[in-house]
Symmetry: C2
Subunit: 194 residues, 2 copies
DNA sequence: AATAAATGTTAATCTAGTTTAACATCATTT
DNA sequence: AAATGATGTTAAACTAGATTAACATTTATT
């Protein structure tokens, strides 16, 4: 599989020597999933963190009433993992399912711990990645309680214009935390407004 | 100031040699703030990350209508910083204000970058801390869209029993994203229920 | 091309939480 | 002790978004 996107991504955060690159590449797993396959299921222990080379996934959980709630979508050059389960190696709260045929690069928990020892710079890489992920998550909390559903939808459209086109509308409603009917209403309002 | 709580905290994540401890302690700032003083204001660049030795802070932002929204409370052995502003050194989205007289240990941006070079293990420390913070934030997003206000309040009470007693009720309402009137209603319902 | 399955729309009714406003209690200052 | 400001309560009227249910459109399968 083509590993260039991963190396290019890493280079945005840290510099790797040729040897370090080789070590990293020797420890990763290439993996392909078909549309609708699960990468992780709620209750399983998440054994890998997953970098997407091609495709699209949704991370979601199913509540007691059987309702699906989407936490995030991931596409090329993003990560798709239940980090809580991964770092503590305890059962996952979330499912991750492919919305398209998807190619991943996986780091297993044990191999990654080994990698941190061989290439300590990777601690810095993942520190920085996680910092950014934390900030993004905190911003989402803020949006949740300061924006109306309409404003949140417009923010989503602006922030992830490509994702909107790849994903059915009812899943976007789920991601926004509103019903598909209400999203439909919002969209028709927006059309009338202009 | 007593720096033991910081060292004890760090030891939960990584081992430091005596020399490394000395280096860390040489690069930190002890700082005291009085009740109601601001550690950071919206629009300023957040120059330090702050570890609380004693006291209590709220992080919040003020929306266009002048309404305050509390993102988090921090007490002893926690961090209190606008991480987004800190890591990018751009203007802060949030204010941090002391709810009690507060003692902090501060790491400035430049000193911390230097510390990462002298004691690379600290990358690992902050990677782990940030991972946990990210997971906690993601869980809050989940709670936001799966729990009713009453359930969120009960979760808050359970998770942070000590904070509830140190902080006025209207601030807890703000943290939960509901009005103080509605929290008051919830509490009287809970009293009747039992 | 016909059928079935998945996705999207509309509208009526309902509800959790907001808004407003008046009042009650507690703590601090003079 | 009185007065002021900060915090908390109650209740009525209101609204954003949920629920239900019927229907419309698009996509995939035979």
């Amino acid at each position: 599989m083509n590993q260039q996107p991963l190396l290019a991504y890493i280079k945005k955060y840290i510099d790797l020597t040729a040897e370090e690159e080789t070590i990293v590449l020797s420890k990763i797993i290439d993996r392909r999933y078909l549309k609708n396959q699960y990468i992780i299921q709620q209750g399983d222990i998440c054994k890998t963190i997953n970098f997407i080379i091609a495709g699209c996934t949704k991370m979601f959980y199913v509540d007691e009433e059987g309702q699906e709630h989407i936490i995030m979508f991931s596409v090329e050059d993003w990560w798709s993992s239940d980090l809580g389960s991964f770092i503590t190696q305890t059962p996952a709260d979330f499912n991750i399912q492919c919305l398209e045929n998807t190619q991943l690069i996986q780091f297993t928990f044990d191999k990654l711990e080994g990698l941190y020892k061989e290439v300590p710079k990777l601690e810095r890489l993942f520190r920085k990645i996680t910092e950014r992920a934390f900030v993004a998550s905190q911003k989402r909390v803020v949006r949740n309680f300061s924006l109306s559903a309409k404003e949140q939808y417009l923010t989503f459209k602006n922030t992830y214009p490509k994702i909107e086109q790849r994903v059915p509308q009812y899943m976007i409603a789920s991601y926004l935390g509103i019903t598909k009917e209400f999203l439909s209403k919002i969209k028709s309002q927006l059309i009338q407004d202009q």
